[in-house]
């Protein structure tokens, strides 16, 4: 017995030593950023968190502040099109964070909003302005959208992050929190050694890719995207892809209902919502069998909320030039600048205007 106990103690002590050592190393390589203020979640690749879903899930506690916050959510075209570094300088009144995730549907957008709320105290929610970027491709049910062999059917990227480190557990009704949100930062601290090892593994894979293919990843660079022109064959392939990925029923009514509920819930709690109808290139818009249905439902939804002063619907339908997009949905950098500036203008008059008037009221109030 004593040999077993001795060996167990030695193994455990060695593991703890190694774990603490790697944890300490992680602080040297990736110092903990300041808590609060704007954060570019799209720059996850340069952080210890590596991917946007992981960064949002593990790094969201920075959003629990009293300041005005602009929180951009949506899918990859929102991530690419609304550039935090372009929008932030134009919005002195608020901290801008882009939490959009590649492949997101409305369910995953609602999950992002729930996760942000989970980490915020009630008073810190009020200064939230959620910018929700949508297009027809996001209105597919999770069982259709998230089906790759690497995951359990219907589990989003955020679900995977929830289960990955045991912060949540699976149940018949979906993820159930194991770690209370107030312990999130402590949990992340405890995970740092694992995150660093994972980061090293990813960097090693990128190095191997570079060695074998001359590229770090298969993703195109900004420069390559800027000069990309889609061929007719690529356009056909893209249309086929979306036809397959939207499922046989097309636009999901359930996803539209969820968007409606999400927006209503945000407005009810006093938060502001900017709902952006994201443009797609004209060839795609005209050829897609889903666009007309989507537009009709989108109009109906915005009609419902337009009387609410905390709601703004934004359209950029004029920005549909085929050559301004690197593929069937993603804006090239020059167009992304225009998208970002337009959003900044809307936010400036919507969020900052109110902020200014509140400041005026506050400063003129009798003491």
């Amino acid at each position: 017995m004593r040999f077993i106990l001795r060996q167990a103690a030695l193994t455990l002590a060695s593991f703890v030593f190694l774990y603490v050592l790697i944890g300490a190393l992680s602080f040297l390589v990736f110092p903990d950023p300041s808590h609060g203020g704007p954060r570019d979640f799209q720059a996850a690749g340069r952080s210890l968190f590596m991917t946007v879903p992981k960064y949002v899930f593990l790094g969201r506690s920075v959003l629990d502040t009293q300041e005005s916050k602009v929180l951009i959510v949506g899918a990859s075209n929102t991530a690419v099109g609304f550039i935090q570094k372009v929008i932030q300088p134009k919005l002195a009144c608020a901290n801008v964070s882009n939490l959009a995730m590649g492949g997101a549907n409305i369910s995953e957008v609602a999950q992002i909003i729930d996760l942000v709320h989970e980490t915020q105290t009630t008073p810190n929610r009020a200064p939230n302005t959620f910018v929700i970027g949508v297009w027809y491709g996001m209105f597919a049910d999770s069982d259709i959208r998230f089906v790759d062999p690497d995951r359990n059917r219907g589990e989003s990227d955020l679900d995977i992050e929830k289960y990955r480190y045991g912060f949540y557990r699976r149940s018949a009704s979906g993820p159930v929190a194991v770690l209370p949100s107030k312990w999130l930062d402590a949990g992340v601290m405890a995970l740092r050694p694992l995150l660093l090892v994972e980061k090293v593994a990813r960097e090693a894979r990128a190095g191997i890719n570079l060695l074998l293919t001359g590229r770090v990843s298969a993703q195109r660079t900004e420069a390559e995207r800027e000069v990309a022109v889609m061929s007719d064959q690529e356009k056909k392939k893209a249309l086929d892809y979306w036809r397959e990925n939207m499922g046989k029923d097309g636009i999901s009514v359930a996803q539209f209902d969820l968007l409606k509920t999400t927006v209503a819930s945000l407005l009810d709690s006093g938060e502001r919502v900017v709902l952006v109808d994201l443009p797609i290139p004209a060839w795609h818009r005209d050829a897609s069998p889903f666009q007309a249905d989507y537009e009709q439902r989108f109009q109906a939804l915005t009609q419902q909320f337009k009387v609410n002063p905390n709601f703004v619907a934004m359209s950029m339908a004029d920005l549909d030039g085929d050559l301004d997009y690197s593929d069937e949905v993603h804006a090239k950098r020059h167009l992304a600048n225009i998208w970002s500036n337009r959003l900044a203008d809307v936010l400036s008059s919507f969020t900052c205007q109110e902020h200014r008037s509140k400041s005026r009221v506050s400063s003129s109030a009798p003491e």
């Binding site: 040999f3 077993i4 994972e198 593994a201």
Partner: protein, 479 residues
């Protein structure tokens, strides 16, 4: 209870501590019995799910008990038929659907391996090799040993009995360290190598099965890569599991039999099966091949026929062993492929020996070119035959075969054989030239060094497990 779950770690730690808390044999048997019951109960959500297994165990126990007092061949025959029919009924073999099935869900995990243990006890009891009465608790501890419950190794009762509650492995600092190392190495195989191979396989398989558009070359490459990755996954998943089980067994005083001995270094199909799932091969050798050869030799006593009777016996043995792996029609194909592999291999040996003579044939088999060629061909044949395990539905299996055609299968076969042959050539050339510096060896073998090595393996296991996020399952659980 999944092997990778925290619950299993807690359970295993609890059993090891409880077992070693006292030297009393009665106490230790009680601990092992309870551990088996708790382990099996962890798979249940309702008590009715255990009833068929209990019925199967009861049938087995009655047969063994009768045979230990009444050593009748007729009783043995009837008993074997009864046990086999019950097994086939409970396992719901698709080609015996007419037998019907129980109208409620029940536990089938472990059933296959319990079958082997029960048949072995029945045959040995009848032949006199098992010369003692087996009590019901000893029967339960043996047939349902939680370490071997899911997928073996298949231990003989006589060996189990020698260690039942009496630690045959004497524990000291080195043996305990080696046991810990083996368990952790098993997890490393299971969670890192097997899981990464499965990740690659599950990425390639849908591409391979998708309809249309793949060029012939791409189809062959995809098939070869997917089949090879599955073989790597299967081996590391299964042998990792065995390392965990055998290492844990040492801490419980048990010396469980080995199940793998570098199978991919085998130079022939028959040698391969002496190195792969060894306890299963040995079971079939003792209880099917040997009796069958004896029977055939009694029917056809001419010495000139002996070698060919062996060929036939190999075919039958491997056919049955292959069919045992699954419950669908594709596993009959797998059995036929295994049978063909074994019998062709035996025929080749017979033909070469007749043509070249024993000495020249042995000399030929020791030439490097023959060795790498034979290894490549052996592994390639096995890797392609494993397709039956990852495409268990006949429609999927035949659809892929039709798309590949004889040309595609041949190209994949040659490609895999060349890749593995080349791998072994390079490995044999490089391995002897790799020696660690003396200082490094000293540091590595020191108390701190070797424990830090264990800790770093554990760190890698945890990191990969979180990176791949889907906890790996034990593949042989399904067989």
């Amino acid at each position: 209870m999944s092997l990778t779950s925290p619950l299993f770690f807690a359970f295993l730690a609890g059993v090891v501590l409880a077992f070693n808390a006292s030297q009393s044999v009665t106490y230790r048997r009680l601990v092992l019995g309870l551990a088996n019951a708790i382990f099996i109960a962890s798979y249940l959500t309702d008590y009715t799910q255990i009833l068929p297994l209990l019925g199967f165990l009861l049938l087995g126990y009655v047969c063994v008990s009768i045979l230990s007092v009444w050593k009748s061949s007729l009783v043995l025959g009837l008993g074997i038929v009864g046990v086999l029919v019950s097994y086939v009924f409970l396992k719901r073999f698709s080609f015996f659907e007419d037998l019907g099935h129980l109208p409620f869900p029940y536990l089938t995990i472990g059933l296959s391996y319990i079958l082997f243990r029960i048949l072995h006890m029945m045959i040995d009891a009848q032949s006199g090799d098992l010369d003692e009465r087996v009590g019901p608790f000893a029967f339960f501890r043996y047939t349902c040993n939680f370490l071997c419950f899911v997928s073996g190794p298949i231990q003989r009762y006589q060996d189990f009995r020698a260690a039942d509650g009496t630690a045959v492995v004497k524990l000291d600092a080195d043996s305990v360290f080696l046991a810990f190392s083996r368990v952790i190495a098993g997890y490393a195989k299971f969670v890192i190598i097997a899981a990464v191979a499965e990740y690659g396989f599950s990425f390639l398989k849908p591409q391979l099965l998708q309809a249309g558009e793949l060029s012939f070359a791409k189809l062959c490459v995809l098939y070869g890569a997917a089949a090879s990755l599955y073989a790597v996954y299967l081996y590391y998943n299964f042998s990792g599991y065995m390392d965990i089980v055998i290492g844990s067994g040492v801490l419980l005083g048990q010396q469980l039999p080995e199940n793998f001995d570098k199978p991919f270094s085998a130079r022939s199909f028959l040698e391969f099966w002496q190195r792969w799932h060894m306890t299963l091969s040995q079971w079939f050798k003792f209880y099917l091949f040997n009796p069958l050869v004896m029977l055939l030799m009694s029917w056809f006593p001419a010495p000139a026929l002996n070698a060919y009777l062996g060929v036939f016996a190999f075919f039958v043995t491997f056919l049955v062993m292959g069919i045992w792996h699954g419950t669908t029609a594709v596993f009959v194909v797998y059995g036929l492929l295994m049978g063909a592999g074994a019998s062709i291999n035996k025929l080749w040996q017979v033909a070469c020996t007749e043509r070249l003579g024993k000495k020249r044939y042995r000399t030929l088999t020791e030439t490097p070119s023959y060795i790498y060629f034979a290894r490549g061909v052996t592994i390639s044949y096995f890797v392609l035959a494993l397709t039956c395990l990852w495409l268990p539905e006949l429609s999927d299996f035949t659809h892929l075969l039709i798309r590949l055609g004889p040309g595609g299968i041949s190209v994949a076969f040659v490609g895999i054989a060349a890749a593995f042959g080349l791998f072994w050539f390079v490995a044999d050339y490089i391995a002897p030239r790799l020696t660690a510096p003396a200082l490094l060896t000293t540091v590595r073998d020191s108390l701190i060094g070797r424990n830090l090595t264990l800790a770093s393996q554990m760190m890698a296991i945890v990191a990969v497990a979180t990176l791949l996020h889907k906890s790996p399952d034990f593949v042989y659980k399904a067989f």
